[in-house]
């Protein structure tokens, strides 16, 4: 910064102090000073103050209003004005974002540094806070301008309108059903198991699939409410494994209170029937309250 520009700057600042430029426009009337003795309708002022997008925006506004250059901010003057706005916002009980106060502190610090004699710089990393402020103001100003440019861009729905022309055949096509691959299903199951793991500390112990399948089959057999002979549920042609699986399925169903097992006297025929609650299947009531995680996961 040259001495020349400093002098210039000083002049501008002085002019600004002598003839303050308008700061506020309320209902078409220009106010050149912050209200000390004049009355501004609170609503109007609130709208005016709320339109700032933060401390940087307010600072830029104060600088621009006085035709000052960001690079030559008269800190003392600007700080004074900034504080007046902050006080005003406090008086208005506007919700004052903490960012405004941070900025106030920053300005106060810069001001005090400029008023005090500067000690010789010892720490090279010591950043001039004024430079930092200027950098931030410039940076913010760029994007503020860019936002204004965005507003001017052609926008779909405002400047550019979409066309939509009917094509008569479009409704005729039926959407094909998605094809499902087995590996997708497996992936899904492994995902769900992975997630279930996060819900429970229990180890997941899978039982043989065929038992589960057999459970469904057995249930279908007995769901009309009739007794079924225990032995009739077995198919000996399936061999030892099949019989064992059926037996396990029945045991599991009994354990889950889905089947009742009845024997009228010792050594008599054993009969199986659906548990009393097992109404035949046509409608499913959709509310289920019970069910803990272990029951579902830790089936065995």
């Amino acid at each position: 910064m040259t001495t020349e520009s400093k002098t210039e700057n000083k002049d501008t600042a002085e002019i600004a102090e002598r003839e303050p430029l308008p700061i506020a426009l309320v209902k078409g009337e220009v106010y050149s000073q912050l209200p000390k003795d004049l009355y501004i309708p609170p609503d109007a002022l609130e709208v005016f103050l709320e339109q700032f997008e933060g401390p940087l925006d307010l600072l830029l506004y104060l600088i621009k209003k006085q035709n000052l250059d960001i690079l030559d901010i008269p800190i003392v003057n600007i700080t004074k004005q900034y504080m007046e706005y902050i006080d005003l916002m406090k008086d208005m009980r506007l919700e004052l974002a903490a960012e405004y106060l941070v900025m106030a502190a920053m300005l106060a610090e810069i001001k005090s540094r400029m008023l005090l004699p500067r000690p010789p710089i010892e720490d090279e990393d010591d950043i001039d806070p004024r430079a930092e402020l200027i950098r931030r103001l410039q940076e913010y100003e760029r994007y503020r301008k860019a936002a204004d440019e965005f507003e001017k861009l052609d926008r779909m729905g405002r400047d550019v309108l979409a066309v939509s022309v009917v094509c008569d055949q479009e409704q005729d096509k039926e959407k094909p059903l998605p094809k499902l691959e087995l590996d997708q299903l497996l992936k899904a199951f492994s995902d769900v198991l992975k997630r279930a793991e996060m819900f429970t500390r229990h180890h997941i112990e899978m039982e043989a699939l065929s038992v589960r399948e057999r459970m469904s089959q057995v249930l279908s057999r007995v769901k009309d409410g009739e007794f079924a002979e225990f032995t009739s549920l077995f198919d000996v042609t399936e061999g030892r494994m099949g019989v064992v699986v059926t037996f396990l399925a029945i045991l599991e169903l009994i354990k889950e209170s889905l089947l009742e097992i009845v024997q009228s006297e010792a050594f008599a025929q054993i009969h199986i029937k659906a548990a009393p609650g097992m109404v035949s299947a046509d409608d499913d009531p959709e509310n289920e309250a019970e069910n803990d995680v272990e029951k579902a996961i830790d089936a065995s």
Partner: protein
């Protein structure tokens, strides 16, 4: 306002509206002092119709006004725009189906408990409609929730003879391992593998 501008506004409006427009509706787009006569709109429409002959769209008068539509002669090609690739099943759908397949008979509540989120009715309905699952009974607890199991149609669609042909968990492990490797090179073994 000259006739070309009026014609262009008419064309733009018909294209943007997405529905038939009456002459009155077209007239209402103009401010009062610039509003043309009805006959001007009529002749603009006529001109548009002539210009469009032999092109990809045509002007058609239907009950509720004038409409621009894709010409029948090109419609078979254009309609392929919507000939979507079949949609993919959602993760919720696949996980629910997988749970029913491997854990049947199972209630909706049990599925929800494992998945940790609620199962939407529409998913269950879709599976029932497609006859991939069926209600095999009801659990004897308050509310009598339906127990779901898979059907023959489910097995058919995967070309399986019985549920025992579904890959066992050990294969799932391999699969997820392969998937992992494919996805991100060799990451760490996932916790499920240790448990199974």
């Amino acid at each position: 306002m000259n006739i070309l501008q009026i014609k262009n506004i008419t064309e733009g409006a018909l294209l943007a509206a997405g529905k038939p427009l009456t002459i009155d509706q077209i007239l209402s787009l103009f401010e009062e002092q610039e509003r043309p006569e009805r006959d001007v709109i009529r002749s603009a429409l006529k001109e548009l119709e002539e210009e469009m002959s032999g092109r990809g769209i045509e002007l058609k008068q239907v009950a509720s006004g004038y409409r621009l539509q894709v010409r029948q002669s090109v419609a078979p090609w254009v309609s392929r725009l919507w000939e979507e690739k079949p949609a993919r099943y959602s993760r919720a759908f696949l996980e629910t189906l997988a749970l029913i397949a491997y854990r049947q008979p199972i209630t909706r509540g049990e599925i929800e408990a494992v998945r940790g989120v609620s199962v939407s009715s529409s998913i269950i309905r879709t599976m029932l409609e497609r006859e991939w699952i069926k209600v095999v009974g009801h659990r004897d607890v308050p509310g009598k929730p339906a127990l779901y199991g898979t059907s023959k149609a489910f097995l058919d669609s995967f070309n399986l003879k019985s549920l025992s042909e579904l890959p066992a968990l050990s294969e799932i492990r391999d699969l997820s391992e392969i998937g992992k490797e494919l996805e991100a090179g060799c990451r760490r073994a996932d916790p499920i593998i240790l448990v199974c």
